[in-house]
């Protein structure tokens, strides 16, 4: 399972992005995106913003679950109170990959829409949200500014390792 995580500001501008792989089931935390399709991640994530804008007014929950799917890419969304969106693209390993790495159907990796996966992503988003709120509490941070803090990146990485 490979992940691409992006924080999108209120003007649909990217604030933060991070790519990582699963650390569960002996994963090494490295993303395994297809080199030829990797640059598409940003497009796929941004193209789901239209759907997010529709979904976000139908329910008040911050976690909007999987909002979009593009071939084998699933996009989960978390809309913060301040209308900043967290988008997580998750790509299960291609079915044609070596069968030795296939996982049981209940694992987070194999089934992107299972309740377990939803729960794991929710925990991930909640932890990132907490750190995001701490980041914006900085008096020097203005809305829609890029988040450059290495500590923030470190914490997102830790959350990814912990839950996904």
């Amino acid at each position: 399972m490979s992940y691409y995580f992006a924080i999108i500001g209120t003007q649909d501008n990217p604030l933060f992005e991070y790519e990582f792989g699963t650390s569960k089931q002996g994963g090494d935390g490295q993303p395994r995106f297809n080199e030829q399709a990797r640059h598409m991640n940003q497009f796929v994530v941004h193209s789901s913003l239209d759907i997010v804008e529709e979904v976000q007014w139908t329910k008040g929950d911050m976690y909007l679950k999987v909002v979009d799917k593009f071939f084998n890419n699933y996009i989960s969304c978390f809309a913060t109170a301040g209308n900043v969106k967290f988008l997580l693209l998750h790509q299960p390993p291609a079915a044609t990959a070596a069968p030795s790495t296939s996982r049981s159907s209940t694992s987070i990796g194999a089934n992107p829409t299972s309740p377990q996966t939803e729960e794991a992503i929710k925990s991930f988003f909640n932890e990132v949200y907490e750190n995001y709120v701490k980041a914006i509490m900085s008096p020097f941070y203005k809305v829609n500014m890029e988040i450059r803090s290495p500590y923030f990146r470190q914490r997102v990485a830790a959350a990814g390792k912990k839950y996904l």
């Binding site: 949200y129 509490m137 290495p150 990146r153």
Partner: protein, 222 residues
């Protein structure tokens, strides 16, 4: 480099970044504060008076001054919106989807956070021509406690700063609005509470047309 903590983050560019010597950053501090953590009103009043005199430099008029105070409050509202919601228990941690929910958040959560009590009243404009106007009434705004406005500036209400905070919350939540503060205490004259609350202030929240349009759409679906 000598004072870098050992567990330094894996950032590549260490050019302009300084790390705190004890290794504690803003990320190490809890977001939930204790219930009793209050600030001294005297120090706030002192700071606020400085903010007003800062805003007062080179202004063209009272409107301009209120606008500057409003701008000072705006980023605060944007940030408070996220902070207040994350402090809510998870069950009620929802984004406001309609105007009423948003105004309740402001009247109850925002006011309690800032001033230690709820706002006094919430009203919708009774004028049918302005259905986009809502009013938040505060009988005795804390920010105005030690401010006496000179006669020649009687139009001024320094709660424009609070109006800016409210505007920030509304804008952040996706309800773009224009918020202004108006003193009404003295105008009401003979009226019951007008005499009792000379500092009574009304925050007039005027939402943009698009907000009402969306409200009608969502309401129709639900």
């Amino acid at each position: 480099m000598a004072n870098l903590p050992t567990g330094k983050p894996p950032g590549k560019d260490q050019s302009g970044l300084r790390y705190p010597s004890n290794g504690k950053t803003i990320y190490h501090r809890p977001l939930n504060r204790t219930k009793t953590a209050e600030l001294s009103q005297a120090s706030f009043a002192y700071l606020f008076s400085e903010m007003i005199s800062y805003a007062q430099r080179r202004v063209t008029g009272i409107q301009d001054l209120e606008q500057r105070l409003n701008v000072q409050g705006h980023p605060l509202g944007l940030k408070l919106l996220d902070l207040l919601l994350i402090r809510e228990p998870p069950r009620t941690q929802t984004r406001p989807l309609n105007i009423i929910a948003l105004l309740h958040l402001i009247k109850i959560n925002l006011w309690t956070h800032l001033f230690g009590r709820q706002a006094d009243r919430l009203e919708k404009s009774s004028n049918p021509e302005t259905p986009d106007e809502y009013m938040i009434v505060d009988n005795e705004p804390l920010v105005n406690a030690y401010i006496s406005v000179p006669k020649e500036m009687s139009q001024l209400n320094c709660a424009a700063y609070v109006a800016g905070i409210i505007e920030g919350v509304c804008d952040g939540a996706g309800f773009p609005a224009r918020v202004t503060a108006h003193s009404v205490g003295l105008q009401e004259g003979g009226g019951g509470d007008g005499g009792m609350w000379p500092g009574k202030t009304v925050f007039l929240v005027k939402f943009e047309a698009a907000v009402l349009e969306r409200e009608a759409l969502i309401g129709g679906k639900g």
